[in-house]
């Protein structure tokens, strides 16, 4: 490539004027970096044009610069205002994040308190359930003990079982007496008796048959409350029969025969 011819073509003057196409600009740029003569030529053309155009300048360049720097918020001129403008967003940012943090913390605390309350009440519920279960277990144990004891009593070979049959109007009722002579106790199984009406109680009698002599063994006051309807009663008598009558609360001196529900004779001792 003839560099001098290229320079003489006048393309570099047009390059500085800015009237070349994009590809021509690219070409000159590449040639400039390869050939120092071309770069030098461009620099001189540019310098002369700058001097010529500057000579037509009318204004105060440094005053314009001051105004430009003010508009662009440059350091020196705008130092104070810059501090303010920088300070404000910083402050806002801090404020916003501060408030955000406070709100989040507030919600967090509220949530934690709520959780705590819930846990507390859950704990209380569990405690109540636990004590209830404990009671039940204790009751079940007690019941089991009682039942075991009862069973052992009933299975005792020395026990005397006396079935009491329904009498008169109460033919469909029944009861059973298990008599442990050794312990002077009877166990009355009153499962076959209806619930006594209010103000009335069942009274258990020990009978001698000749002559017919009833002796009160006591009233069953807790009939309703007892679940298995087996009542333990002391009996020191040489009973020949047992009977159950319905009596006014508190019991009677002698049995009311119209209200004799069940009666049973002790089998003769073998």
């Amino acid at each position: 490539m003839d560099i001098n011819a290229y320079i003489d073509s006048g393309i570099l003057e047009l390059y500085v004027a800015g009237v070349l196409s994009e590809s021509e600009n690219q070409e000159v740029y590449e040639l400039m970096s390869k050939h120092p003569e071309i770069l030098q030529e461009v620099l001189e053309i540019e310098a002369s044009v700058i001097k010529l155009t500057a000579a037509t300048s009318s204004g105060n360049k440094s005053r314009a610069l001051t105004l430009i720097k003010e508009k662009l918020l440059f350091k020196k001129e705008a130092k104070e205002t810059k501090v303010v403008t920088l300070e404000k967003p910083k402050h806002n940012w801090l404020t916003y994040s501060g408030w955000a943090a406070a709100i989040i913390l507030g919600f967090g605390l509220y949530w934690t308190l709520n959780q705590n309350n819930e846990l507390q009440s859950d704990l209380q519920t569990v405690e109540i359930e636990r004590s209830y279960l404990e009671t039940q277990i204790a009751e079940a144990r007690t019941d089991l003990e009682a039942n075991k004891k009862l069973l052992s009593v009933l299975r005792d070979k020395d026990i005397i079982a006396v079935p009491l049959g329904g009498q008169g109007n109460f033919a469909n009722t029944y009861a059973k007496v298990y008599w442990s002579k050794e312990n002077n106790e009877i166990y009355v199984d009153a499962q076959g008796l209806p619930s006594p009406p209010p103000g009335k109680v069942y009274q258990v009698w020990s009978l001698k048959l000749s002559p017919l002599t009833p002796v009160s063994l006591g009233t069953i006051d807790n009939f309703m409350q007892d679940e298995n309807k087996i009542f333990e009663i002391q009996n020191l008598n040489e009973s020949e029969a047992f009977g159950i009558t319905l009596e006014p609360a508190g019991g009677s001196e002698s049995p009311t025969m119209e209200q004799l529900y069940t009666l049973g004779v002790v089998a003769a001792t073998p």
Binding site: G10, L14, Y15, N25, Y29, E44, T53
Partner: protein, 176 residues
Amino acid sequence: MQLELLVEKFQKKDQKAFEELYNMYGDSMQGVIYNIVRDKDTAEEIMQDVFIKAWNNSASYSPSKGRFFTWILNIARNAAIDKTRSKAFKNSRKNLDADYFVDILQTSESLDDQTNSIGIKKFVEKLAKKCIEVIELLYFKGYTQQEASEALDMPIGTVKTRNRNCIKELRTYVLE
């Protein structure tokens, strides 16, 4: 400092680099703008806009597309020409088409203070009208080669060689 480095710094929003570039090209831009609008206050206003625009759009400049001077020269010319097309400006100003940059040089009082004022004065005195015309259109007004050839009623190739010769002459006066 190397121009490339300076421009790179400027593109990275270095304020010192901006000021240095402003000092290098500020007068030149002011001259170009003033030649177009022919009003000191308006020129100063446009001048500020041009450098603010250059600062804000510095990323759009690339050395492979042309000289940095040419890039900012384009911004300045376009801003000034835009101004002359605005209604307010048209209403307040006469038709400026007949004026050339030489008028400013000949009437300028401040020219004596310029470093190269003597060289430029010599140049202007000696300069043929054909040179004034072509320089005016290509550098001050931003005409394309085609537009200049039409305005001057000469072939494109002639515009190119004439411009080359006129700038060559200018160089002998201002670059000693």
